[in-house]
Each structure stands twice: as structure tokens, then as C-alpha cells.
Point group: C2
Chain length 393, copies 2
């Protein structure tokens, strides 16, 4: 096990009706004038935004509003948010939405006190040194952004999708009411579930030996997702299944399941190019990419894939031919994703094989290699896209 530091100071407030406490938590964490940042559509129609506003008003908190965050949140709205915060004297950002809204909020929070262009944090040109505090009211179990210091934003002009991270943009509190997710369409629910499982697998496949505790914690989240996701697809308003998924999504990404080990994250990088180019859902892109990545790297550590197959997918171990078991686990993963309505290949995702060279070029690895479980070259990434393009059950 590797040395590590772990701190997850976010205050999580979980359960029915907790969105009505938003105002009290903003106050507790020192906010007096809030930017209420959201997407639109369902948060407005469902009355959620009105309940949050009522809660802010009841707590004596003033607010300005900025809606319109899109999936794969854009830099353009972030610039607008930064200006608005400065002109209105905002001292707290409250995100009401999913990962895109929260990531956009984090970008605004870091951008407000920064002299330069906030994109510097995403291009790697600068590190976040200060940020407004952020709180969240989560509406979809997926990105885990409610408990992480990470943010991913897309530059609208050239379609670059890039991430940054800092404890300074980690939410001070996150309100998680599973009931808010009961009205989510099946497709979005499944995209979220895929993202959650991918967050775990990115940590599970490691070259670090002897990290049984984090292996087991990873498996705990995956087993929960495998049980609960088909239930919410069949019964969208099953509160308990929604609740288990929602908390699993947070646990999957505070890094409690990833400490003490090297992690991979190549599937996320490879997927980001797909959602940047096609504006597809991140989870749907992962459903196509991650099993393809697994097939490509499986032979690097057959016994680790066999462990996942046995412990997570319930495969019988083939002791004579462990690779059979390892590959059966990958097949079950893809089959599971298909069963919850996810695409399995480029055609189902709406991606084109002819675009692979462009995807690889934008990935920007040049003649180098990525890091992670298996360090990938441009040729490797090309091959993973090719496997993903042609994948079948």
C-alpha cells in the first residue's frame, strides 16, 4: 500500500426533504449573498428551485441567479458567472443540479478571486490559490462532484474538455435528496450509474499491490450498483434503490475507495474526447469506452481482472484458464451496461469510426504515453477506440 493523505471535509446532508435546509447550511458556512447556479428545465419545472429559494429567503440569504448550464458545461457561461459574482458581490456559490452544474460552479468559484483567465486552471497554466465557497443541492447521482475537488469544463470555441482539481473548490456542504432523482429519465439514470461504476473501476485497476481494503471498498460500491441500478430502471420511483445509488455515487468519488494506490483514469480521458466532439452524455461514452479499454489492457494483469470477475460479477473462477474468467467479467460488464440501456459501440453512441484520428489527435498525447495501469501510446488509444467502435455483446 502506498502512503497517502485523505480528507473529505464536505458536510453531507442526506435524505427526504433536505433541500429545504439549503438556506440554513449556506448560513452555517458563512454565505450572505449567493449565486444560485443551475441548468434549467427540470429543476425549475419540479419546483425544486422555488423550494431552494424559499429556504434561502427564510435564512435571510440574498441571491442572484444564473441558469442555463448545459451537460459538458461551457467556459462561456463560466465567464458570465464570474462577472456576475463580481458585480453583485457574491460570497457563496450554490449549485442546484448535477455534475455539470457543480463543475461550472467550481469554475466560477475559482475564477472570481483570480486575476487571470480561469481557463488557466484547466489548461494547467496555473493552480487554484483561492476560491469562493461552494455548496450543492444534487439532482442526479453520477459525477460525484458533490464530494470531490474536481471540475471538468469544455472550451466552447475549440471543443477542448479539460479538468482541474483543488481542495479549495471542494463543496462545503452537499444536500442529497434521493427523491429529487426519482423523476430522472431511464437514460440519464443509466448514464449516471455508468459514471459511478467507472469512477470505481478507474481506481480498481492498479499496479499497487496489497490494497485489500480499498479493493473491497471498490467492490462494495460496484455490487451495490449492480443490484440497485436495474431496480431503478424498472421502478423509477423506488426511493431506497435511488438512495443507495445516490450515496454510492458520492462514496465512489470522495476517493475513500481509491487511497493507497496508483489509479488509472485513461478511460475518462479517452471518453472526454467523445463527449467533447459529439456532445454525448459522459456516462454513455464511458459505457462504450471502458469495456473496450478493459479488453485492451486485460492481459497486463489477468488475475486482477479475474478477481473483479469473481468478486464483482459473480463468475466462477476458471483455475485452469484464469484469462477466460477475466474476459468473462468484462463481457458481463458490457452486457450489464446494455441491459440498463447504455450503448455498446460507436454506432449506438452516435460516434464515427472515421473520426478516430481526430479523437486521438485532440487527446494530445503526441509521441508520448499516458500514465496509469497501462501507459498508453497514441497507437494504443487508437486501438481502444477501434475496439469500442466495433464492440458487440
Amino acid at each position: 500500500m502506498n502512503n497517502f493523505q485523505f480528507c473529505s471535509p464536505t458536510e453531507f446532508v442526506f435524505g427526504r426533504g433536505t433541500e429545504n435546509e439549503a438556506g440554513a447550511y449556506v448560513k452555517k458556512h458563512g454565505g450572505s449573498k449567493v449565486l444560485l447556479h443551475y441548468g434549467g428545465g427540470s429543476a425549475v419545472r419540479s419546483g425544486l428551485l422555488d423550494r431552494v429559494k424559499a429556504s434561502l429567503t427564510a435564512a435571510g440569504i440574498r441571491f442572484a441567479e444564473l441558469g442555463g448550464v448545459k451537460p459538458n458545461p461551457r467556459d462561456t457561461l463560466v465567464y458570465e458567472g464570474i462577472e456576475l459574482c463580481r458585480s453583485e458581490g457574491i460570497d457563496f456559490i450554490l449549485a442546484v443540479g448535477g455534475g455539470s452544474v457543480i463543475d461550472s460552479s467550481k469554475a466560477i468559484a475559482a475564477g472570481v478571486p483570480y486575476d487571470g483567465d480561469f481557463w488557466d486552471f484547466y489548461s494547467g497554466k496555473a493552480r487554484i490559490a483561492a476560491a469562493l465557497p461552494v455548496g450543492t443541492v444534487l439532482t442526479i447521482a453520477a459525477a460525484g462532484s458533490e464530494g470531490s475537488g474536481d471540475s471538468v469544463v469544455t472550451k466552447e470555441a475549440d471543443g477542448l474538455k479539460r479538468g482541474t482539481g483543488s481542495d479549495l473548490i471542494r463543496p462545503r456542504f452537499s444536500i442529497l435528496d434521493p427523491e429529487l432523482t426519482c423523476t430522472l429519465p431511464a437514460y440519464q439514470t443509466a448514464c449516471g450509474a455508468t459514471d459511478i461504476m467507472a469512477h470505481v473501476f478507474e481506481r480498481y485497476f492498479t499496479n499497487t499491490k496489497e490494497v485489500e481494503i480499498t479493493d473491497r471498498l471498490c467492490e462494495a460500491v460496484l455490487l451495490t450498483m449492480i443490484r440497485e441500478t436495474p431496480r431503478v430502471i424498472a421502478q423509477p420511483d423506488n426511493y431506497d434503490a435511488r438512495a443507495n445509488i445516490m450515496w454510492a455515487g458520492t462514496v465512489a468519488h470522495t476517493n475513500i475507495v481509491g487511497v493507497g494506490r496508483e489509479q488509472d483514469w485513461n478511460s475518462h480521458g479517452i471518453e472526454h474526447e467523445l463527449s467533447a466532439l459529439y456532445d454525448c452524455a459522459h456516462g454513455a461514452g464511458l459505457a462504450v469506452i471502458m469495456p473496450a479499454w478493459m479488453e485492451f489492457v486485460c492481459s497486463h494483469d489477468v488475475m486482477r481482472f479475474a478477481q473483479a470477475a469473481v468478486r464483482v460479477w459473480g463468475c466462477q473462477m476458471n483455475f485452469a484458464q484464469p484469462e477466460e474468467t477475466a474476459r468473462e467479467g468484462i463481457r458481463r460488464f458490457r452486457s450489464f451496461l446494455h441491459s440498463i440501456g447504455m450503448p455498446v459501440n460507436f454506432a449506438e453512441l452516435g460516434a464515427k469510426e472515421a473520426d478516430i484520428p481526430k479523437l486521438v489527435e485532440t487527446f494530445g498525447i503526441g509521441g508520448g504515453r499516458t500514465g496509469g495501469f497501462v501507459a498508453l501510446s497514441a497507437a494504443d488509444i487508437t486501438e481502444i477506440y477501434r475496439i469500442a467502435a466495433h464492440a458487440a455483446l
Copy 2:
């Protein structure tokens, strides 16, 4: 799943050599004059205390010392610590030791700014409203006190062992170097492992339905302990096995494995009377009590015990007679504890059946009932002690 709040703000610093960062972390968390609180013996002999002092000095932190904490920490030393802190102008308590040292430190931390008798917090007469900040350098994986807001102290005059809890006494940082535990004797190692497993089981047996995610996280910790404990008993200096146990011990007690559900904690209460009367190790007392408690309450929810038997102990499910499976799981737990050197009954623990009436009286339930998974009367507790007195493999 029940509504819950969860916040674990402690900064964990894990791995080889991290005790040398103690001074830097005290400084980061605002300490300028520290009470260095410890037991004695091994922390002194091993040179650990000298390394921590050097680290404090290097960071420009002054300190006073108070050693002599015993297992089942006493109120008498807490009073001494409170006086010392007041007279020396201490602003930070650094615990170097295990659960007893940390619990004693928490009691001192809460007592210093309090006008009355610190025991008020343990007798239930008052709630903690302020406390000095606490940090820890952990030397045994067991109590989980390094990541919790709990503290248990024994009143020396009458042997009362009572607990309190508050986020104000939760450690600001905890330094966990598994190497420090490699020299622990097998018996203490096994006592610690038993305590860790008990912390999980106290949360696992619940009447709350549909908490799959916390069930699975509980099982993750238990499976880790079942794999790693025999390894460290056989190879005391196996760093990786020690590391997995150490982090499992923390995860077991931040409450991440217990949120969203009612919990039990009767075995801890019943055990506390044993360690108060006989001054035996808490873990050894739990090894005798918890399987006895399980046998007593098993019929309350046979399928939950069967789930533990199958998922944790690897039993084959007897679908015709689930109670057979449930009870086989309990037998395997007791047998596992025996295999790591723990006592299985009163005689092996050094307790006397004739003392049962006294134990029940001190427990102090009177004509009432406890709470938890099964609400116990004095007669029930008597029967659990009786089962524990006579238990055999």
C-alpha cells in the same frame, strides 16, 4: 434508508515515516503550545516519542508532556491533564498512542474550557460546547478513535466506564504509520482486530431496511479483517497487512459504514462492564460478548444473520433451513476469534459467572430496556453474560 448527516473532516496522513510530520500538522492546525499525551512503555522505548518531539521542535512548537495513560483510561489522569493545560497555556492536545490515549486526550480537550467537572460530559449531565483541538499519532489499529468524535473514560473511584461524543473532540488530523504497529504483541493485535470487527457488526445488525450500500461497505471491512488479521498474527512485521488493518480500523469507525441506519451498540455496553470490573482488554471482552449477543438475538432476524454468514464468512446458504446458515456464521466468527488468540468464554477472559448480577446491576438498565437491534432487558443481558460464560467452540 434513513435520513442522515455525515461529515468526517479529520485529515488522515497515512504511511511510512508520517510521524515525522506531526509538528508540521500541529502548526497547520493552529497549535503553538502542545500537550504531548501518551501512555509510556513502547512509545518511549521505540523512540517514537523522541521522533515526535523532534518534529514538534523543528516546527517551532513548544510542548508539555503527560504520560501514564493506562488501558481503560482513568478520570484521575484527565483531571491532572486539564490542570496542566490550564497552568501551561496549552492550545493543542497531541495524543501519541492508541484508543485509550486518544480518548483521554479528548476528555482533557473538552475539560479545559469547561467550568464544571469534565465527568458531566460522560454522565450525561452536560454536552460539550467547546474543546481544544486534538491531533493524534496512532500506534494501534483498534478503537477508531483517531477518526471519531467519541471518547470512553473510566471513573477510577467506582469503576464506572462511560462514553461521550461530539464533533468538537474529533481529531483535526491523525497520523497513521502502520510500521509503528509492527512491534505490537500478537494478543494486543488480535484485541484491536476484534474491536474493529465489533465496530462494524454494531452497525451491521439493524432493523433499517434497504441499506445495501452500507451493508456492502461493512462487509468490505470485515472481509479485509478476516484476510489480514491471521497474516499479521503469523508475520507481525508484514507492513502491507498491517496497513490494510490500520486503514480498515479507521474506516470502521468514522461512521461511513454506518450511515442511513439504526445501529445496535449493546455488545459494547455489555462489554464495558467487563473491562471496568476486571480491567481486561476491551477487544478481549468483545470477543467473549459479541458472539454470545449474536446467539441471543439471531432469531430476531435470521435472514440478516444468514446474509452475514454467506457474504462475510463464506458459508453456503441453506435455503431449506436459513437459521442453520445464520448460526453457522456466528460459529465461524467465534472460531475465527479463537484462531487469532482471543478468549471464547468467561474462564478464558478471567471473568467469573458469579459476578453476573453485579455486572448487570452496574450496567444500570433497571427495569427498562436498551435500544438498538433488539431492545434488551436486565434479564436479557443476564442471559447474554450467561451464554458468554459457558461458550465453547
